[in-house]
Protein backbone atom coordinates (compact mmCIF):
# COMPACT_ATOMS: atom_id res chain seq x y z
CA UNK A 1 0.00 0.00 0.00
CA UNK A 2 2.84 2.38 0.88
CA UNK A 3 4.61 1.45 -2.31
CA UNK A 4 1.42 2.30 -4.19
CA UNK A 5 1.23 5.69 -2.45
CA UNK A 6 4.89 6.33 -3.18
CA UNK A 7 4.38 5.52 -6.85
CA UNK A 8 1.09 7.46 -6.97
CA UNK A 9 2.77 10.60 -5.64
CA UNK A 10 5.15 10.41 -8.61
CA UNK A 11 3.13 8.82 -11.41
CA UNK A 12 -0.34 10.12 -10.50
CA UNK A 13 -1.79 6.59 -10.59
CA UNK A 14 -5.07 7.47 -8.90
CA UNK A 15 -6.38 9.18 -12.00
CA UNK A 16 -5.45 6.16 -14.14
CA UNK A 17 -7.23 3.92 -11.64
CA UNK A 18 -10.28 6.17 -11.86
CA UNK A 19 -10.31 6.08 -15.65
CA UNK A 20 -10.04 2.31 -15.64
CA UNK A 21 -12.48 1.45 -12.88
CA UNK A 22 -15.08 4.22 -12.91
CA UNK A 23 -16.05 3.79 -16.56
CA UNK A 24 -19.81 4.39 -16.58
CA UNK A 25 -21.99 1.47 -17.72
CA UNK A 26 -25.35 2.73 -19.02
CA UNK A 27 -28.28 1.04 -17.30
CA UNK A 28 -25.96 -0.57 -14.75
CA UNK A 29 -23.83 -3.70 -14.56
CA UNK A 30 -25.31 -6.87 -16.02
CA UNK A 31 -24.50 -10.56 -16.45
CA UNK A 32 -25.24 -10.15 -20.17
CA UNK A 33 -22.10 -7.98 -20.57
CA UNK A 34 -19.62 -10.64 -19.39
CA UNK A 35 -18.83 -12.31 -22.73
CA UNK A 36 -16.25 -9.79 -23.90
CA UNK A 37 -14.32 -10.12 -20.65
CA UNK A 38 -14.65 -13.90 -20.81
CA UNK A 39 -13.17 -13.88 -24.32
CA UNK A 40 -10.31 -11.63 -23.20
CA UNK A 41 -9.67 -13.91 -20.22
CA UNK A 42 -9.58 -16.95 -22.51
CA UNK A 43 -7.14 -15.20 -24.82
CA UNK A 44 -4.83 -14.56 -21.85
CA UNK A 45 -5.21 -18.19 -20.77
CA UNK A 46 -4.33 -19.35 -24.31
CA UNK A 47 -1.35 -17.00 -24.39
CA UNK A 48 -0.03 -18.25 -21.04
CA UNK A 49 -0.56 -21.97 -21.69
CA UNK A 50 0.81 -21.49 -25.22
CA UNK A 51 4.02 -19.92 -23.90
CA UNK A 52 4.47 -22.84 -21.55
CA UNK A 53 3.79 -25.41 -24.28
CA UNK A 54 6.50 -23.72 -26.34
CA UNK A 55 8.96 -24.52 -23.53
CA UNK A 56 9.04 -28.14 -24.72
CA UNK A 57 7.59 -28.06 -28.24
CA UNK A 58 9.85 -28.50 -31.27
CA UNK A 59 8.37 -27.28 -34.59
CA UNK A 60 9.95 -29.78 -36.96
CA UNK A 61 8.39 -32.90 -38.49
CA UNK A 62 11.16 -34.99 -36.91
CA UNK A 63 10.42 -33.92 -33.38
CA UNK A 64 7.02 -32.19 -33.14
CA UNK A 65 5.08 -35.37 -32.41
CA UNK A 66 7.68 -36.73 -29.97
CA UNK A 67 7.89 -33.43 -28.13
CA UNK A 68 4.10 -33.31 -27.65
CA UNK A 69 4.16 -36.91 -26.50
CA UNK A 70 6.93 -35.94 -24.08
CA UNK A 71 4.70 -33.15 -22.72
CA UNK A 72 1.77 -35.57 -22.39
CA UNK A 73 3.65 -38.42 -20.75
CA UNK A 74 6.84 -37.16 -19.10
CA UNK A 75 6.28 -33.58 -17.99
CA UNK A 76 4.53 -33.04 -14.66
CA UNK A 77 1.11 -31.42 -15.38
CA UNK A 78 2.02 -31.57 -19.08
CA UNK A 79 -1.25 -33.22 -20.10
CA UNK A 80 -3.12 -30.66 -17.97
CA UNK A 81 -1.40 -27.65 -19.56
CA UNK A 82 -1.98 -29.05 -23.04
CA UNK A 83 -5.59 -29.85 -22.06
CA UNK A 84 -6.12 -26.25 -20.91
CA UNK A 85 -4.81 -24.99 -24.26
CA UNK A 86 -6.96 -27.45 -26.23
CA UNK A 87 -10.22 -26.86 -24.35
CA UNK A 88 -9.42 -23.15 -24.02
CA UNK A 89 -9.42 -22.91 -27.81
CA UNK A 90 -12.91 -24.39 -28.01
CA UNK A 91 -14.09 -22.21 -25.15
CA UNK A 92 -12.73 -19.14 -26.90
CA UNK A 93 -14.79 -19.87 -30.01
CA UNK A 94 -17.88 -20.29 -27.80
CA UNK A 95 -17.16 -17.07 -25.89
CA UNK A 96 -16.60 -15.07 -29.09
CA UNK A 97 -19.81 -16.51 -30.54
CA UNK A 98 -21.82 -15.47 -27.49
CA UNK A 99 -20.14 -12.05 -27.41
CA UNK A 100 -21.03 -11.43 -31.06
CA UNK A 101 -24.55 -12.71 -30.53
CA UNK A 102 -25.02 -10.32 -27.62
CA UNK A 103 -23.63 -7.38 -29.60
CA UNK A 104 -25.90 -8.32 -32.51
CA UNK A 105 -29.02 -8.74 -30.38
CA UNK A 106 -28.41 -5.43 -28.58
CA UNK A 107 -27.73 -3.61 -31.85
CA UNK A 108 -24.39 -2.63 -30.37
CA UNK A 109 -22.86 -2.39 -33.86
CA UNK A 110 -24.97 0.65 -34.75
CA UNK A 111 -23.52 4.17 -34.89
CA UNK A 112 -21.22 5.22 -33.35
CA UNK A 113 -19.88 1.68 -32.80
CA UNK A 114 -19.50 0.46 -36.42
CA UNK A 115 -15.69 0.34 -36.26
CA UNK A 116 -15.74 -1.55 -32.98
CA UNK A 117 -17.92 -4.22 -34.63
CA UNK A 118 -15.66 -4.43 -37.66
CA UNK A 119 -12.53 -4.77 -35.55
CA UNK A 120 -14.43 -7.46 -33.64
CA UNK A 121 -15.17 -9.40 -36.85
CA UNK A 122 -11.47 -9.28 -37.78
CA UNK A 123 -10.61 -10.50 -34.28
CA UNK A 124 -13.00 -13.41 -34.81
CA UNK A 125 -11.29 -14.27 -38.12
CA UNK A 126 -7.89 -14.12 -36.41
CA UNK A 127 -9.11 -16.57 -33.78
CA UNK A 128 -10.18 -18.92 -36.59
CA UNK A 129 -6.71 -18.53 -38.12
CA UNK A 130 -5.24 -19.44 -34.70
CA UNK A 131 -7.41 -22.54 -34.66
CA UNK A 132 -6.36 -23.60 -38.16
CA UNK A 133 -2.62 -23.05 -37.68
CA UNK A 134 -2.58 -24.52 -34.17
CA UNK A 135 -4.28 -27.70 -35.33
CA UNK A 136 -1.25 -28.78 -37.41
CA UNK A 137 1.34 -28.36 -34.67
CA UNK A 138 1.01 -31.77 -32.91
CA UNK A 139 1.91 -33.37 -36.28
CA UNK A 140 -0.28 -36.39 -35.76
CA UNK A 141 -2.48 -38.03 -38.38
CA UNK A 142 -5.51 -35.85 -37.59
CA UNK A 143 -3.41 -32.70 -37.74
CA UNK A 144 -1.71 -33.63 -40.96
CA UNK A 145 -4.75 -34.72 -42.95
CA UNK A 146 -7.09 -32.00 -41.67
CA UNK A 147 -4.51 -29.40 -42.74
CA UNK A 148 -4.06 -31.14 -46.08
CA UNK A 149 -7.79 -30.76 -46.70
CA UNK A 150 -7.75 -27.13 -45.54
CA UNK A 151 -4.93 -26.37 -47.97
CA UNK A 152 -6.70 -28.17 -50.81
CA UNK A 153 -9.76 -25.99 -50.19
CA UNK A 154 -7.66 -22.88 -50.59
CA UNK A 155 -6.44 -24.42 -53.83
CA UNK A 156 -9.97 -24.44 -55.27
CA UNK A 157 -10.13 -20.63 -55.32
CA UNK A 158 -9.99 -19.68 -59.03
CA UNK A 159 -6.91 -18.03 -60.53
CA UNK A 160 -4.99 -17.27 -57.30
CA UNK A 161 -5.94 -20.42 -55.38
CA UNK A 162 -3.03 -22.57 -56.48
CA UNK A 163 -0.58 -19.77 -55.72
CA UNK A 164 -2.15 -19.03 -52.33
CA UNK A 165 -2.06 -22.67 -51.38
CA UNK A 166 1.62 -22.96 -52.28
CA UNK A 167 2.43 -19.88 -50.22
CA UNK A 168 0.57 -21.28 -47.23
CA UNK A 169 2.17 -24.68 -47.66
CA UNK A 170 5.62 -23.19 -48.08
CA UNK A 171 6.96 -26.11 -50.07
CA UNK A 172 6.13 -28.67 -52.69
CA UNK A 173 4.43 -30.84 -50.10
CA UNK A 174 2.93 -30.42 -46.66
CA UNK A 175 6.08 -30.85 -44.59
CA UNK A 176 8.89 -29.17 -42.70
CA UNK A 177 8.38 -25.76 -44.31
CA UNK A 178 4.65 -25.85 -43.68
CA UNK A 179 5.08 -26.79 -40.03
CA UNK A 180 7.60 -24.06 -39.27
CA UNK A 181 5.57 -21.33 -40.96
CA UNK A 182 2.35 -22.46 -39.28
CA UNK A 183 4.26 -22.41 -35.98
CA UNK A 184 5.64 -18.91 -36.61
CA UNK A 185 2.20 -17.64 -37.62
CA UNK A 186 0.54 -19.27 -34.62
CA UNK A 187 2.95 -18.06 -31.95
CA UNK A 188 4.43 -14.82 -33.35
CA UNK A 189 2.46 -13.16 -36.15
CA UNK A 190 -1.10 -13.85 -35.02
CA UNK A 191 -0.54 -12.93 -31.35
CA UNK A 192 1.04 -9.61 -32.39
CA UNK A 193 -1.90 -8.85 -34.68
CA UNK A 194 -4.46 -10.00 -32.16
CA UNK A 195 -3.02 -7.94 -29.32
CA UNK A 196 -2.96 -4.79 -31.48
CA UNK A 197 -6.56 -5.32 -32.53
CA UNK A 198 -7.71 -6.10 -28.99
CA UNK A 199 -6.10 -2.81 -27.97
CA UNK A 200 -7.97 -1.05 -30.80
CA UNK A 201 -11.23 -2.77 -29.81
CA UNK A 202 -10.87 -1.65 -26.18
CA UNK A 203 -9.68 1.82 -27.16
CA UNK A 204 -12.82 2.32 -29.26
CA UNK A 205 -14.93 0.96 -26.40
CA UNK A 206 -13.51 3.60 -24.07
CA UNK A 207 -13.92 6.38 -26.66
CA UNK A 208 -17.58 5.63 -27.48
CA UNK A 209 -18.60 3.85 -24.28
CA UNK A 210 -20.59 0.63 -23.90
CA UNK A 211 -23.91 0.51 -25.76
CA UNK A 212 -26.01 -0.35 -22.73
CA UNK A 213 -29.68 -1.44 -22.79
CA UNK A 214 -31.65 -1.13 -26.03
CA UNK A 215 -34.60 0.72 -24.49
CA UNK A 216 -34.26 4.36 -23.57
CA UNK A 217 -36.42 3.72 -20.51
CA UNK A 218 -33.84 1.38 -18.99
CA UNK A 219 -30.89 3.41 -20.10
CA UNK A 220 -32.36 6.45 -18.41
CA UNK A 221 -32.11 4.61 -15.09
CA UNK A 222 -28.63 6.08 -15.10
CA UNK A 223 -25.25 4.45 -15.33
CA UNK A 224 -23.14 2.55 -12.84
CA UNK A 225 -19.37 2.42 -12.47
CA UNK A 226 -17.49 -0.55 -13.97
CA UNK A 227 -15.99 -1.31 -10.56
CA UNK A 228 -17.05 -3.08 -8.41
CA UNK A 229 -20.21 -4.78 -9.63
CA UNK A 230 -19.33 -5.43 -13.32
CA UNK A 231 -15.80 -6.43 -12.36
CA UNK A 232 -17.27 -8.84 -9.79
CA UNK A 233 -19.58 -10.38 -12.42
CA UNK A 234 -16.71 -10.69 -14.91
CA UNK A 235 -14.50 -12.28 -12.26
CA UNK A 236 -17.14 -14.82 -11.25
CA UNK A 237 -17.67 -15.81 -14.89
CA UNK A 238 -13.91 -16.11 -15.44
CA UNK A 239 -13.66 -18.43 -12.44
CA UNK A 240 -16.54 -20.53 -13.77
CA UNK A 241 -14.93 -20.69 -17.23
CA UNK A 242 -11.56 -21.63 -15.71
CA UNK A 243 -13.16 -24.33 -13.56
CA UNK A 244 -14.96 -25.84 -16.56
CA UNK A 245 -11.84 -25.84 -18.77
CA UNK A 246 -9.67 -27.12 -15.94
CA UNK A 247 -12.11 -29.97 -15.26
CA UNK A 248 -12.22 -30.90 -18.94
CA UNK A 249 -8.42 -30.82 -19.10
CA UNK A 250 -8.24 -33.13 -16.08
CA UNK A 251 -11.09 -35.47 -16.89
CA UNK A 252 -11.24 -35.70 -20.69
CA UNK A 253 -7.92 -36.86 -22.07
CA UNK A 254 -7.05 -35.57 -25.49
CA UNK A 255 -4.67 -38.17 -26.85
CA UNK A 256 -2.59 -37.82 -29.97
CA UNK A 257 -3.47 -40.02 -32.92
CA UNK A 258 -0.60 -41.78 -34.67
CA UNK A 259 2.34 -39.76 -35.88
CA UNK A 260 1.64 -38.07 -39.23
CA UNK A 261 2.23 -40.45 -42.08
CA UNK A 262 2.01 -38.76 -45.50
CA UNK A 263 1.89 -42.18 -47.18
CA UNK A 264 -1.25 -43.34 -45.39
CA UNK A 265 -4.08 -41.90 -47.47
CA UNK A 266 -6.69 -44.09 -45.79
CA UNK A 267 -6.84 -41.82 -42.76
CA UNK A 268 -10.10 -39.88 -42.54
CA UNK A 269 -9.56 -36.72 -40.52
CA UNK A 270 -12.31 -34.94 -38.66
CA UNK A 271 -11.95 -31.21 -38.15
CA UNK A 272 -12.57 -29.48 -34.84
CA UNK A 273 -16.26 -29.02 -34.04
CA UNK A 274 -16.19 -25.31 -34.92
CA UNK A 275 -15.23 -26.12 -38.50
CA UNK A 276 -17.69 -29.01 -38.75
CA UNK A 277 -20.61 -27.01 -40.19
CA UNK A 278 -18.36 -25.97 -43.05
CA UNK A 279 -17.08 -29.54 -43.49
CA UNK A 280 -20.71 -30.71 -43.69
CA UNK A 281 -21.62 -28.02 -46.22
CA UNK A 282 -18.88 -29.25 -48.54
CA UNK A 283 -20.47 -32.70 -48.66
CA UNK A 284 -23.53 -31.34 -50.45
CA UNK A 285 -21.78 -29.36 -53.11
CA UNK A 286 -19.78 -31.08 -55.79
CA UNK A 287 -18.55 -30.60 -59.29
CA UNK A 288 -18.43 -27.17 -60.87
CA UNK A 289 -20.39 -25.71 -57.94
CA UNK A 290 -17.69 -26.70 -55.45
CA UNK A 291 -15.94 -23.30 -55.36
CA UNK A 292 -19.32 -21.86 -54.37
CA UNK A 293 -19.13 -23.72 -51.07
CA UNK A 294 -15.38 -23.66 -50.55
CA UNK A 295 -14.85 -19.96 -50.95
CA UNK A 296 -17.64 -17.86 -52.52
CA UNK A 297 -20.15 -18.51 -49.75
CA UNK A 298 -17.63 -18.08 -46.92
CA UNK A 299 -16.33 -14.89 -48.56
CA UNK A 300 -19.85 -13.49 -48.91
CA UNK A 301 -20.72 -14.37 -45.31
CA UNK A 302 -17.51 -12.79 -44.01
CA UNK A 303 -18.07 -9.62 -46.06
CA UNK A 304 -21.68 -9.36 -44.88
CA UNK A 305 -20.52 -9.81 -41.27
CA UNK A 306 -17.78 -7.23 -41.69
CA UNK A 307 -19.99 -4.58 -43.30
CA UNK A 308 -23.14 -5.45 -41.40
CA UNK A 309 -23.30 -2.03 -39.63
CA UNK A 310 -23.64 -0.40 -43.09
CA UNK A 311 -26.06 -3.01 -44.45
CA UNK A 312 -28.46 -2.77 -41.52
CA UNK A 313 -29.29 0.96 -41.50
CA UNK A 314 -32.32 0.71 -39.24
CA UNK A 315 -31.49 3.07 -36.35
CA UNK A 316 -33.57 1.12 -33.80
CA UNK A 317 -31.69 -1.06 -31.30
CA UNK A 318 -34.67 -2.82 -29.75
CA UNK A 319 -34.88 -6.32 -31.38
CA UNK A 320 -38.67 -6.05 -31.66
CA UNK A 321 -38.30 -3.09 -34.01
CA UNK A 322 -35.64 -4.87 -36.14
CA UNK A 323 -37.49 -7.88 -37.57
CA UNK A 324 -35.37 -8.10 -40.73
CA UNK A 325 -32.00 -8.02 -38.99
CA UNK A 326 -33.06 -10.42 -36.24
CA UNK A 327 -34.67 -12.69 -38.84
CA UNK A 328 -31.50 -12.73 -40.95
CA UNK A 329 -29.40 -13.50 -37.87
CA UNK A 330 -31.77 -16.28 -36.85
CA UNK A 331 -31.67 -17.87 -40.32
CA UNK A 332 -27.87 -17.71 -40.33
CA UNK A 333 -27.63 -19.40 -36.92
CA UNK A 334 -30.26 -21.96 -37.93
CA UNK A 335 -28.25 -22.93 -41.02
CA UNK A 336 -24.94 -23.11 -39.13
CA UNK A 337 -26.36 -25.16 -36.27
CA UNK A 338 -28.35 -27.45 -38.58
CA UNK A 339 -25.16 -28.22 -40.50
CA UNK A 340 -23.29 -28.74 -37.23
CA UNK A 341 -26.06 -31.01 -35.95
CA UNK A 342 -26.16 -33.01 -39.19
CA UNK A 343 -22.42 -33.35 -39.18
CA UNK A 344 -22.33 -34.58 -35.58
CA UNK A 345 -25.15 -37.02 -36.32
CA UNK A 346 -23.34 -38.40 -39.38
CA UNK A 347 -20.06 -38.64 -37.50
CA UNK A 348 -21.57 -40.77 -34.79
CA UNK A 349 -23.71 -42.76 -37.22
CA UNK A 350 -20.75 -43.79 -39.37
CA UNK A 351 -19.33 -46.98 -37.93
CA UNK A 352 -15.75 -46.35 -37.03
CA UNK A 353 -13.40 -48.54 -39.04
CA UNK A 354 -12.59 -51.61 -36.99
CA UNK A 355 -8.88 -51.42 -36.11
CA UNK A 356 -8.62 -55.16 -36.85
CA UNK A 357 -9.64 -54.40 -40.44
CA UNK A 358 -6.92 -51.75 -40.70
CA UNK A 359 -4.31 -54.16 -39.34
CA UNK A 360 -5.58 -56.88 -41.67
CA UNK A 361 -5.23 -54.55 -44.63
CA UNK A 362 -1.62 -53.87 -43.63
CA UNK A 363 -0.96 -57.63 -43.45
CA UNK A 364 -2.51 -58.05 -46.89
CA UNK A 365 0.07 -55.58 -48.19
CA UNK A 366 2.90 -56.97 -46.10
CA UNK A 367 2.51 -60.56 -47.31
CA UNK A 368 2.15 -59.47 -50.92
CA UNK A 369 -1.32 -60.96 -51.33
CA UNK A 370 -1.92 -58.57 -54.23
CA UNK A 371 0.70 -60.50 -56.16
CA UNK A 372 -1.99 -63.05 -56.96
CA UNK A 373 -5.29 -61.57 -55.74
CA UNK A 374 -7.12 -58.60 -57.14
CA UNK A 375 -9.28 -56.08 -55.22
CA UNK A 376 -11.18 -53.49 -57.25
CA UNK A 377 -8.83 -53.88 -60.17
CA UNK A 378 -5.59 -53.67 -58.17
CA UNK A 379 -3.42 -56.77 -58.00
CA UNK A 380 -2.72 -59.98 -59.89
CA UNK A 381 -5.34 -62.10 -61.64
CA UNK A 382 -4.00 -65.61 -61.05
CA UNK A 383 -6.00 -66.18 -57.85
CA UNK A 384 -9.67 -65.38 -57.08
CA UNK A 385 -10.76 -61.74 -57.17
CA UNK A 386 -11.43 -60.64 -53.57
CA UNK A 387 -13.33 -57.38 -54.23
CA UNK A 388 -16.56 -58.75 -52.70
CA UNK A 389 -15.32 -61.86 -50.92
CA UNK A 390 -17.14 -60.73 -47.77
CA UNK A 391 -20.42 -61.25 -49.63
CA UNK A 392 -19.53 -64.43 -51.52
CA UNK A 393 -17.95 -66.18 -48.55
CA UNK A 394 -19.14 -64.60 -45.29
CA UNK A 395 -18.19 -67.45 -42.92
CA UNK A 396 -15.42 -66.39 -40.55
CA UNK A 397 -14.48 -69.96 -39.65
CA UNK A 398 -13.83 -70.87 -43.27
CA UNK A 399 -11.35 -68.02 -43.72
CA UNK A 400 -9.47 -68.77 -40.53
CA UNK A 401 -9.12 -72.43 -41.56
CA UNK A 402 -8.20 -71.41 -45.07
CA UNK A 403 -5.42 -69.07 -43.97
CA UNK A 404 -4.00 -71.76 -41.68
CA UNK A 405 -4.00 -74.38 -44.39
CA UNK A 406 -5.50 -73.36 -47.74
CA UNK A 407 -5.63 -76.92 -49.11
CA UNK A 408 -7.70 -78.19 -46.13
CA UNK A 409 -10.79 -76.29 -47.28
CA UNK A 410 -9.87 -75.65 -50.88
CA UNK A 411 -8.28 -78.81 -52.29
CA UNK A 412 -5.98 -78.22 -55.22
CA UNK A 413 -5.39 -74.55 -54.31
CA UNK A 414 -1.86 -73.38 -54.99
CA UNK A 415 -2.00 -70.69 -52.28
CA UNK A 416 0.98 -71.07 -49.91
CA UNK A 417 0.68 -71.29 -46.14
CA UNK A 418 1.71 -68.00 -44.60
CA UNK A 419 3.36 -67.89 -41.17
CA UNK A 420 0.56 -66.00 -39.41
CA UNK A 421 0.10 -65.68 -35.66
CA UNK A 422 -3.40 -66.13 -34.26
CA UNK A 423 -4.06 -62.36 -33.86
CA UNK A 424 -2.79 -61.86 -37.42
CA UNK A 425 -5.15 -64.59 -38.65
CA UNK A 426 -8.03 -62.77 -37.00
CA UNK A 427 -7.03 -59.38 -38.40
CA UNK A 428 -6.62 -60.68 -41.93
CA UNK A 429 -9.96 -62.48 -41.70
CA UNK A 430 -11.64 -59.27 -40.46
CA UNK A 431 -10.19 -57.46 -43.43
CA UNK A 432 -11.33 -59.91 -46.13
CA UNK A 433 -14.79 -60.09 -44.51
CA UNK A 434 -15.03 -56.30 -44.73
CA UNK A 435 -14.74 -56.49 -48.53
CA UNK A 436 -18.41 -56.14 -49.43
CA UNK A 437 -20.60 -54.36 -51.94
CA UNK A 438 -22.27 -52.38 -49.16
CA UNK A 439 -19.96 -51.68 -46.24
Amino acid sequence: MRIYQWLDSRLNLKSVERTLLDEPIPGGASWIYVFGSATLFLFLLQAITGMFLAVYYAPTPDHAYDSIQFIEEQVTFGAFVRGLHHWGASAMVVAIGLHMLQAFLYGAYKPPREVMWMVGVVLFLLVMAFAFTGYLLPWDQTAYWATQIGLNMVGTVPVVGEFLMRVMRGGEVLGALTLSRFFAIHVLFLPALLISLIAAHLFILRRVGPAGPWTDARASLGSETFYPRQVYMDAVVMLVVFTVIGSLALLVPFPLTDKANPADTSFVPVPEWYFLFYYELLKYVHGPLEPLATWILPMVVILIMLFWPFIDRNPARNPIRRPVAIGAGAVFLLVVFSLLGLSLKNLYAVPRVDPAVVRGKALYAEFGCAGCHRIHGAGGAVAPDLSFVGDTRPEREWHVKHFKDPQSVSPGSFMPKFPLTDPQLNDLTSYVLSLKKTP
Partner: protein
Protein backbone atom coordinates in the same frame (compact mmCIF):
# COMPACT_ATOMS: atom_id res chain seq x y z
CA UNK B 1 -24.48 8.44 2.08
CA UNK B 2 -24.35 6.19 5.12
CA UNK B 3 -21.94 3.26 5.48
CA UNK B 4 -24.54 0.57 4.87
CA UNK B 5 -26.58 2.12 2.16
CA UNK B 6 -26.00 0.47 -1.23
CA UNK B 7 -25.48 3.37 -3.60
CA UNK B 8 -22.87 6.03 -3.94
CA UNK B 9 -22.17 8.47 -6.68
CA UNK B 10 -19.06 8.67 -8.78
CA UNK B 11 -18.92 11.38 -11.41
CA UNK B 12 -22.60 11.01 -12.32
CA UNK B 13 -22.56 7.19 -12.28
CA UNK B 14 -23.89 5.31 -9.28
CA UNK B 15 -21.58 2.98 -7.43
CA UNK B 16 -22.12 0.54 -4.55
CA UNK B 17 -20.58 1.65 -1.25
CA UNK B 18 -20.01 0.23 2.22
CA UNK B 19 -20.43 -3.48 2.84
CA UNK B 20 -21.80 -4.13 -0.66
CA UNK B 21 -18.69 -2.60 -2.21
CA UNK B 22 -16.49 -4.58 0.14
CA UNK B 23 -18.35 -7.79 -0.78
CA UNK B 24 -17.91 -7.30 -4.55
CA UNK B 25 -14.26 -6.44 -4.11
CA UNK B 26 -13.74 -9.48 -1.90
CA UNK B 27 -15.41 -11.90 -4.37
CA UNK B 28 -13.30 -10.44 -7.20
CA UNK B 29 -10.11 -10.94 -5.21
CA UNK B 30 -11.03 -14.52 -4.28
CA UNK B 31 -11.91 -15.39 -7.89
CA UNK B 32 -8.65 -13.90 -9.18
CA UNK B 33 -6.72 -15.69 -6.43
CA UNK B 34 -8.28 -19.07 -7.23
CA UNK B 35 -7.57 -18.71 -10.95
CA UNK B 36 -4.01 -17.56 -10.23
CA UNK B 37 -3.41 -20.43 -7.83
CA UNK B 38 -5.01 -22.97 -10.19
CA UNK B 39 -2.66 -21.84 -12.94
CA UNK B 40 0.52 -21.13 -10.99
CA UNK B 41 0.84 -24.53 -9.30
CA UNK B 42 0.63 -26.65 -12.48
CA UNK B 43 2.74 -24.22 -14.50
CA UNK B 44 5.55 -24.12 -11.96
CA UNK B 45 5.51 -27.93 -11.75
CA UNK B 46 5.48 -28.07 -15.54
CA UNK B 47 8.60 -25.95 -15.88
CA UNK B 48 10.71 -27.38 -13.07
CA UNK B 49 9.82 -31.08 -13.36
CA UNK B 50 12.58 -32.16 -15.80
CA UNK B 51 15.18 -30.35 -13.69
CA UNK B 52 14.18 -32.38 -10.66
CA UNK B 53 14.00 -35.72 -12.41
CA UNK B 54 17.10 -37.85 -12.11
CA UNK B 55 17.87 -39.87 -15.18
CA UNK B 56 17.40 -43.56 -14.66
CA UNK B 57 20.58 -45.14 -15.92
CA UNK B 58 20.25 -48.64 -17.27
CA UNK B 59 22.62 -51.58 -16.91
CA UNK B 60 24.67 -51.77 -20.09
CA UNK B 61 26.39 -54.90 -21.37
CA UNK B 62 30.00 -53.85 -22.01
CA UNK B 63 31.34 -57.23 -23.08
CA UNK B 64 32.22 -60.77 -22.11
CA UNK B 65 34.18 -61.46 -18.94
CA UNK B 66 36.59 -63.55 -21.00
CA UNK B 67 37.77 -60.44 -22.81
CA UNK B 68 39.35 -59.19 -19.57
CA UNK B 69 42.64 -60.93 -18.73
CA UNK B 70 43.57 -61.42 -15.07
CA UNK B 71 45.57 -58.53 -13.68
CA UNK B 72 45.70 -56.68 -16.97
CA UNK B 73 43.15 -53.81 -17.15
CA UNK B 74 41.23 -53.59 -20.39
CA UNK B 75 39.32 -50.76 -21.96
CA UNK B 76 35.83 -51.87 -23.01
CA UNK B 77 33.89 -49.79 -25.53
CA UNK B 78 30.15 -49.90 -25.71
CA UNK B 79 27.28 -47.95 -27.17
CA UNK B 80 24.89 -46.46 -24.69
CA UNK B 81 21.55 -44.79 -25.38
CA UNK B 82 21.16 -41.43 -23.75
CA UNK B 83 17.66 -40.06 -23.33
CA UNK B 84 17.69 -36.31 -24.00
CA UNK B 85 14.14 -35.16 -23.39
CA UNK B 86 12.19 -36.55 -26.32
CA UNK B 87 15.39 -37.46 -28.19
CA UNK B 88 17.38 -40.66 -27.89
CA UNK B 89 21.07 -40.34 -28.67
CA UNK B 90 23.45 -43.22 -29.21
CA UNK B 91 26.81 -42.50 -27.71
CA UNK B 92 30.11 -44.38 -27.63
CA UNK B 93 31.42 -44.80 -24.10
CA UNK B 94 34.41 -46.62 -22.67
CA UNK B 95 35.15 -48.08 -19.25
CA UNK B 96 38.21 -49.70 -17.72
CA UNK B 97 37.68 -53.21 -16.34
CA UNK B 98 40.15 -54.85 -13.95
CA UNK B 99 39.87 -58.54 -13.10
CA UNK B 100 41.31 -59.53 -9.74
CA UNK B 101 42.71 -62.90 -8.69
CA UNK B 102 39.53 -63.68 -6.70
CA UNK B 103 37.44 -63.31 -9.90
CA UNK B 104 35.91 -59.99 -8.86
CA UNK B 105 35.89 -57.25 -11.47
CA UNK B 106 36.25 -53.54 -10.75
CA UNK B 107 35.09 -51.08 -13.36
CA UNK B 108 36.53 -47.56 -13.48
CA UNK B 109 35.09 -44.49 -15.10
CA UNK B 110 37.39 -43.62 -18.04
CA UNK B 111 37.96 -40.02 -16.88
CA UNK B 112 40.87 -38.87 -14.76
CA UNK B 113 39.60 -37.45 -11.46
CA UNK B 114 41.77 -34.39 -11.93
CA UNK B 115 40.20 -32.65 -14.93
CA UNK B 116 38.42 -35.39 -16.82
CA UNK B 117 41.05 -36.41 -19.39
CA UNK B 118 41.11 -39.96 -20.68
CA UNK B 119 43.91 -41.99 -19.06
CA UNK B 120 45.61 -45.16 -20.30
CA UNK B 121 47.18 -48.31 -18.85
CA UNK B 122 50.93 -48.64 -18.90
CA UNK B 123 51.52 -52.41 -18.81
CA UNK B 124 55.26 -52.09 -18.23
CA UNK B 125 54.96 -50.31 -14.90
CA UNK B 126 51.46 -51.61 -14.11
CA UNK B 127 49.99 -48.12 -13.63
CA UNK B 128 47.24 -45.97 -15.06
CA UNK B 129 48.73 -42.77 -16.43
CA UNK B 130 46.97 -39.58 -17.41
CA UNK B 131 48.71 -37.78 -20.28
CA UNK B 132 47.31 -34.32 -19.46
CA UNK B 133 48.88 -33.44 -16.11
CA UNK B 134 50.75 -36.56 -15.16
CA UNK B 135 48.43 -38.11 -12.61
CA UNK B 136 49.31 -41.75 -11.92
CA UNK B 137 47.06 -44.44 -10.37
CA UNK B 138 47.80 -48.00 -9.35
CA UNK B 139 45.76 -51.01 -10.49
CA UNK B 140 43.27 -50.42 -7.64
CA UNK B 141 42.75 -46.83 -8.76
CA UNK B 142 44.65 -45.28 -5.87
CA UNK B 143 46.56 -42.07 -6.60
CA UNK B 144 50.29 -42.73 -6.83
CA UNK B 145 51.47 -39.38 -8.18
CA UNK B 146 50.28 -36.17 -9.79
CA UNK B 147 47.50 -33.65 -9.06
CA UNK B 148 44.49 -36.05 -9.00
CA UNK B 149 42.49 -35.27 -5.84
CA UNK B 150 40.89 -38.73 -5.40
CA UNK B 151 41.19 -42.31 -6.61
CA UNK B 152 39.66 -43.37 -9.95
CA UNK B 153 35.86 -43.46 -9.83
CA UNK B 154 34.31 -46.91 -9.50
CA UNK B 155 31.22 -47.67 -11.54
CA UNK B 156 28.49 -50.06 -10.33
CA UNK B 157 29.01 -53.37 -12.09
CA UNK B 158 27.74 -56.93 -11.98
CA UNK B 159 28.33 -60.18 -13.81
CA UNK B 160 25.45 -62.05 -15.39
CA UNK B 161 25.93 -65.21 -17.50
CA UNK B 162 29.55 -64.38 -18.07
CA UNK B 163 28.77 -60.87 -19.32
CA UNK B 164 29.89 -57.72 -17.58
CA UNK B 165 27.13 -55.19 -16.93
CA UNK B 166 27.85 -51.59 -15.95
CA UNK B 167 25.87 -48.50 -15.04
CA UNK B 168 27.60 -45.63 -16.75
CA UNK B 169 27.93 -42.48 -14.66
CA UNK B 170 29.90 -39.32 -14.81
CA UNK B 171 31.46 -37.57 -11.85
CA UNK B 172 32.58 -34.06 -11.21
CA UNK B 173 36.35 -33.87 -11.78
CA UNK B 174 38.74 -31.92 -9.56
CA UNK B 175 37.01 -32.47 -6.20
CA UNK B 176 38.10 -34.54 -3.25
CA UNK B 177 34.58 -35.90 -2.77
CA UNK B 178 32.75 -37.99 -5.34
CA UNK B 179 29.95 -35.91 -6.86
CA UNK B 180 27.77 -37.58 -9.46
CA UNK B 181 26.77 -35.45 -12.41
Amino acid sequence: MSEHQGEGDEGGASTPVGTRRTFFGWVTTVAAGLIGFGLAVPLVGYVISPALKRRERPWVDVGSLEEVPLGDPKQLDHVTTIQDGYLKNQSQKAVWAVKRPDGQVSVFSPMCTHLGCGYRWDGDVKQFKCPCHGSVFDIDGKVVAGPAPRPLDLLPSKIENGRLLVVFKEFKPGTKDIVEL
